[in-house]
């Protein structure tokens, strides 16, 4: 055993450091997952299925990560209709942002997470909006 004056780090500390490191990484990963996807528990919208037959998905709630493309129409009472690009795909979907989100300054090019409901006639309505 080394004298007190010439003691070095005990290997236990190295192990502890490694464990802590892994713990930090794991914690970060979990945090990232939780934070990066606010709708973690929701299912992503099956875009091909929606395009094929929206009625089959009527009433379901999904999540989508989009980039705002164009504002198609606007009504002060009903809300705003946007065309959005699905992240990672080449699909474009119309999403109706209800009037309760009118305070949001939604601009072209912005990325959002939408919690959407497939409504009547296949119209997608946003239930929640969060910026990516």
């Amino acid at each position: 055993m080394a004298r007190r004056a010439s003691s070095s780090v005990h290997p236990i500390w190295i192990i502890a450091c490694v464990i802590l490191l892994f713990a930090a990484i794991a914690g970060g990963w979990l945090l990232y997952r939780n934070v990066s996807d606010p709708y973690r528990t929701l299912t992503p919208l099956d875009v091909p299925a929606y395009l094929e037959n929206a009625n089959s998905l009527r009433g379901n709630v999904y999540k989508i990560s989009v980039t705002v493309d164009t504002q198609l129409a606007w009504s002060p009472t009903v809300g705003r209709l946007y065309s959005v690009l699905i992240d990672g795909k080449s699909d474009v979907l119309p999403v109706l942002i209800p009037a309760r989100f009118n305070q949001l300054n939604i601009q072209k090019g912005q990325r959002y997470f939408f919690k959407i409901e497939v409504g009547d006639k296949g119209i997608l309505r946003a239930q929640d909006v969060r910026k990516v």
């Binding site: 080394a2 004298r3 007190r4 004056a5 010439s6 970060g28």
Partner: protein, 584 residues
């Protein structure tokens, strides 16, 4: 009694022997002068005895116990190194008091002060008690060093060239002091004092002289027998006479005569007989020699509590901080100057962004997109640049905060650690001290920039992230400081670390994904930049930065987590580094 048994120490290769089979005994109440030509291993021997160096073979025993197995307590051993072990900006009294607080626990304030006065009186520094260490003379510093070791009243005192560079009078005084320290008197027990010295003038004041030559002990005996043994007329001829024979011959010769000279420690007649040939001072009495009675120390010796050490260290650090004009000025300059640098680029605030319209024909949309891209790239560059500028400046500040923090006083810390200061207390005091600086710097940066430039976003969150990024860099640099050998080395590494922050952050140029995945977790600047931008999430600035930047932005919480991990890691490394002995 201190006993050295066949101590051998090599430098690196087996052939580079620093100490070669040294065996000796040093009783209590014994002052031994360890002499020899330069580089013969005197200081090394002391370090081996202190435990600073580990011998390849042999052992050191104290009172019959192997110190390898059961080392001396911090308060039992005192080691006065060659380097200064006091902070220049403290005065003598503060140094002593601090040392008392750090090494001796259970003392209330009055007792502590009293003790300090005693110690000062013992070492003869009472008259300059309020003088700063910086202005002390060499001899005074040696006295102070001795005084600092005396706070815990060690029974083994190792002095490494405490008289070097002193004039004759000062040397004489020191030797007398050592003599006094070695002898038991009043409440002070007898100590074993080993004093490495170059001077041969006061050998007679010592109980024994150990002569080392090329790592070998070639003589350990009474000073009066020295001349006889080496066939010298004068003590000053010792070193030149050593050249007559090789170290091995001398060692072999000593091996033959060692027993006799050691027995001389107990045979006064032989000593007297020898002294008839040459009068020798301090000839032991005719009785068979026996170790003098050593008054036992009070069993209760309290090591200071962790918190006491922490508080003392912290208090000392603040005191030094405020007394260091240069450092203070630098910190103020950084504190106020860097934010000014940032606001220069956005004095008029951030430009607003004209949004894209969704209507119009394709050509019009394309033109708008092009104009928007141009505009947004400008704004995004400005915003991102300002944020990153703040972050980088804060990392620079953090580096400046901590780079020299431990490395700059490592020797003193090692000494203090040797004397019983806990590394944890030490690191914690550093952490708290730096945290205060970090908080002030970062919060001021955030508030100042936010106020002047009207930066959008939550100021609290921005302050937090800046504190974290500054803290992360500070902690990491503190860790580096505790690992590196010198302050300059630490500064250099920290500067490089800061230098790599910007390019590896991805804020300016996106790193390849593979590299980014590997390096990004370690780049505090990225997390600070990303976290800061997340505070502007609800603004268009965030959008344009996100659209222009090829580096993805991480969530605020994750940024905070990573930075906290940096802080924790840095502090952990600092602690581990502090725990590691680094006497060089």
């Amino acid at each position: 009694m201190l006993e050295l048994r066949n101590i051998s120490l090599t430098a690196g290769r087996a052939t580079d022997l620093l100490l070669d089979d040294i065996s000796a005994r040093f009783p209590q109440g014994h002052l031994c002068a360890v002499v020899g030509p330069s580089g013969c291993g005197k200081s090394t021997l002391l370090k081996v005895i202190a435990g600073v160096r580990q011998p390849q073979s042999g052992s050191v025993h104290w009172e019959g116990r192997d110190l390898e197995q059961h080392d001396l307590e911090p308060h039992e051993i005192g080691y006065v190194p060659q380097f200064s072990i006091a902070f220049d900006l403290l005065n003598v009294t503060e140094s002593i008091e601090t040392a008392l607080r750090l090494r001796v626990g259970g003392l209330d304030e009055s007792v502590l002060c009293e003790r300090a006065v005693e110690i000062l009186a013992d070492v003869g520094l009472s008259e300059i008690a309020d003088r700063r260490v910086r202005v002390l003379s060499g001899g005074q510093k040696r006295r102070l060093a001795l005084a600092l070791e005396m706070v815990s009243s060690p029974i083994l005192l190792l002095c490494d060239e405490v008289t070097s560079g002193l004039d004759a009078k000062a040397e004489d005084e020191i030797v007398q002091l050592l003599r006094k320290l070695a002898s038991a008197h009043e409440d002070e027990p007898a100590r074993t004092v080993l004093s490495v010295t170059h001077s041969l003038r006061h050998l007679d004041s010592h109980d024994s002289v150990a002569v080392l030559f090329e790592g070998r002990l070639i003589y350990h005996g009474a000073p009066e027998l020295l001349l006889h043994y080496f066939s010298l007329d004068k003590q000053e001829e010792l070193f030149p006479s050593l050249a007559r024979r090789s170290a091995g011959a001398w060692h072999a010769s000593w091996q033959k005569h060692r027993a006799a000279y050691q027995a001389a420690f107990v045979n006064a007649e032989q000593i007297v007989a020898r002294a008839e040939a040459e009068p020798v001072e301090n000839v032991p009495a005719e009785e068979p020699w026996k170790p003098p009675e050593i008054p036992t120390r009070p069993v209760e010796f309290m090591c200071p509590h962790f918190s006491d050490q922490f508080k003392t260290l912290l208090k000392r650090r603040w005191r030094i901080f405020f007394r260091d004009g240069g450092q203070l000025a630098l910190q103020l300059a950084l504190l106020f100057g860097f934010p000014c640098l940032v606001v220069i680029f956005a004095w008029d605030g951030l430009p607003q962004i004209q949004n894209l319209t969704s209507s119009g024909n394709v050509v019009q949309q394309l033109l708008e997109t092009a104009a928007f891209t141009l505009q947004s790239s400008r704004v995004a560059s400005l915003v991102s640049g300002l944020v990153m500028f703040q972050v980088i400046l804060l990392t620079l500040i953090g580096s400046n905060n901590a780079a020299r923090e431990i490395a700059g006083e490592r020797a003193i810390f090692e000494k203090e650690k040797f004397a019983g200061v806990r590394p944890s207390s030490y690191v914690l005091s550093k952490a708290v001290f730096l945290t205060t600086l970090v908080a002030a710097q970062s919060i001021w940066m955030a508030v100042f920039v936010n106020t002047i430039c009207r930066f959008p976003g939550d100021m609290l969150a921005q302050s937090l992230i800046l504190v974290l990024v500054n803290g992360a860099m500070t902690a990491v640099c503190l860790g580096i400081s505790s690992l590196t050998k010198s302050a300059e080395h630490a500064s250099l590494v920290c500067v490089y670390l800061v230098g790599f922050q910007l390019p590896l952050s991805g804020a300016v140029l996106a790193l390849p994904h593979v590299i980014a995945w590997f390096t990004r977790p370690f780049i505090a600047a990225y997390w600070g930049w990303s976290g800061y931008l997340q505070t502007m999430r609800d603004t268009r600035f965030y959008d344009v930065v996100q659209s222009i930047s090829q580096t993805e932005l991480s969530p605020f919480a994750l940024c905070g987590w990573v930075l906290l991990c940096h802080i924790a890691g840095g502090l952990l490394v600092a602690y581990l580094g502090a725990k590691t002995s680094r006497w060089d």
